[in-house]
């Protein structure tokens, strides 16, 4: 176990983790630059670009906090750099912990067990890295084709363009309807939180639309999260 954790926190694992993290950060900056330029060309104002960036940042605070909490629960088993690598890239934390225990089991041990040695750790790394690469390989190979299919559909005529807008909006609502209800079936306080967040959002959006308050629109998701957490905590504590 000790030897495995020494390896897990060794400088070589750190180097790889930092390099991958660097790519992720570089990509985000590169795409923001590309989108800013393209946005101006299609007639977006600087205010709109800034507002999109600001809103995206604010909306990420709540989720990031939740993600970091799960990430921390993985550190004792995977070490700092691998956790950073897995959660900083692709990483949906619950799935990573499943993969990690599967890897350990295949070697015939368990995460955190005393006989979790360097070979067991290597098995876990193989499992997580191979498993995580699946999304990246598919995205790298298929995005261009998906884009072509979409263009074919939308370029046909105005009617299919309209249907495309309905499909995207409905898909977005469906995605969150599913995510929200998966949480709601967990118990009373979860239902309470979903409803409070929804109501707060409706009130804030109505207010900001009515009085044209831009900052309120940018903060509406953040405020909804806080308000519903407050109500939820009253139910728990």
């Amino acid at each position: 176990m000790e030897q495995a954790m020494e390896l897990a926190n060794s400088s070589i694992v750190w180097i790889f983790a930092v390099l991958v993290l660097f790519i992720v950060i570089f990509q985000a900056i590169k795409f923001i630059a590309l989108a800013t330029k393209a946005g101006k060309e299609i007639g977006m104002t600087t205010v709109e670009v800034k507002s999109a960036l600001k809103t995206g940042s604010i909306a990420a605070i709540g989720p990031s906090f939740a993600i970091v909490i799960v990430a921390i629960s993985l550190i004792p088993f995977l070490g700092d750099p691998l956790t950073l690598l897995r959660i900083g890239v692709i990483g949906s934390a619950p799935i990573e912990s499943v993969g990690a225990s599967l890897g350990a089991n295949a070697y015939g041990t368990e995460l955190g067990s005393s006989d979790f040695n360097v070979q067991a750790f290597t098995t876990v790394v193989w499992t997580l890295c191979l498993g995580g690469v699946g999304w990246l390989v598919f995205t790298a190979l298929a995005t261009r084709s998906m884009s072509k299919v979409e263009k074919k559909v939308t370029n046909k005529n105005n009617k299919s363009k309209k249907i495309m807008t309905i499909v995207t909006t409905a898909a977005m609502v469906a995605a969150f309807g599913n995510l929200a209800s998966a949480e709601m079936v967990k118990g009373f306080e979860y239902i309470l939180v979903v409803i409070t967040a929804s109501l707060t959002m409706i009130i804030l959006t109505t207010l900001s639309n009515k009085h044209k308050i831009n900052w309120l629109r940018e903060w509406s998701l953040g405020i909804s999260i806080l308000a519903s957490l407050f109500v939820g905590s009253l139910a728990i504590l």
């Binding site: 993290l21 992720v24 990509q27 590169k30 795409f31 923001i32 590309l34 989108a35 800013t36 946005g39 299609i42 977006m44 507002s51 995206g56 940042s57 909306a59 990420a60 709540g62 950073l84 690598l85 959660i87 900083g88 890239v89 692709i90 993969g99 070697y107 360097v118 070979q119 290597t122 098995t123 499992t127 191979l130 690469v133 990246l136 261009r144 998906m146 249907i163 807008t165 309905i166 909006t169 898909a171 609502v173 469906a174 929200a180 949480e183 709601m184 079936v185 306080e189 939180v193 979903v194 967040a197 109501l199 707060t200 959002m201 959006t205 629109r217 509406s220 909804s224 905590s233 728990i236």
Partner: protein
């Protein structure tokens, strides 16, 4: 190139120049997206290769394969389903960033949706895609700003937080999802009602997670299209 531009002017300048700008943007997004994704893939795979063959801790291919096959049995469908399901929402550039930075459902999509809501851009349009890219890009950077210091600072920070406050953490996800759902339901209340009803029914069944997602998506989209068609027939 010059001929093309002339054609575009003939067709009506403003519209086509937007199409051209978008095409240029997509081409660059494909290049940089694939470049960064493949670099990340190679670097990620180098970690186990290094541990196995340079340091000599190879556990044997049988063991690796056993673990991987079981793991792939759980996630392999999702590798393909997720990017395809979210593509219409995220667009080209959004897909590249979201799947590299991770946490698509709980962070990237909400950030994209919030950004679109803030400036009133419809998902699925040019402006919508650019806005989503800006939102997700900013979210990815903020996420790393949180992640790096906390992981470096170690678990110390979390152990300082009192236990009863820690009980609230599981509620963060339903808070995000509820808020984003309402954002859309305001524009199309009927879509929201349909999605939530189907979502609740599907989630009370013992189906596998990704089947639930797929069912909810397909059913909601189909019903919404049918409703819009009916409306059109009436009008």
């Amino acid at each position: 190139m010059a001929i093309n531009e002339e054609d575009i002017i003939n067709e009506g300048y403003s519209r086509s120049s937007h199409d051209l700008a978008m095409e240029k943007f997509h081409n660059k997004a494909h290049f940089w997206g694939r470049f960064t994704l493949w670099s990340a893939i190679i670097l990620t795979l180098l970690v186990p290769v290094y541990l196995s063959f340079i340091l000599g801790y190879h556990p044997g291919w049988n063991i690796i394969l056993t673990a991987f096959i079981v793991y792939a049995g759980i996630v392999a469908v999702v590798w393909i389903l997720e990017p395809m399901m979210y593509f219409p929402i995220l667009g080209v550039s959004g897909t590249y960033i979201s799947f590299l930075t991770g946490n698509v459902g709980n962070m990237c999509l909400p950030s994209a949706a919030a950004a679109q809501n803030a400036i009133g851009a419809e998902p699925g349009t040019k402006k919508g895609e650019i806005t989503a890219t800006l939102g997700i890009g900013a979210a990815s950077l903020v996420n790393k700003m949180f992640l790096i210091p906390i992981i470096l600072g170690g678990s110390v920070l979390i152990s300082v937080i009192p236990e009863n406050i820690q009980q609230i953490f599981p509620l963060i996800l339903p808070a995000i999802f509820g808020g984003v759902l309402a954002q859309f339901a305001i524009k199309k209340p009927i879509y929201g009602v349909i999605a939530l009803t189907i979502g609740l029914i599907v989630n009370l069944t013992p189906l596998v997670v990704y089947i639930k997602m797929l069912l909810c998506l397909v059913l909601t989209v189909t019903i919404c299209i049918l409703i819009e068609k009916k409306k059109e027939a009436k009008a």
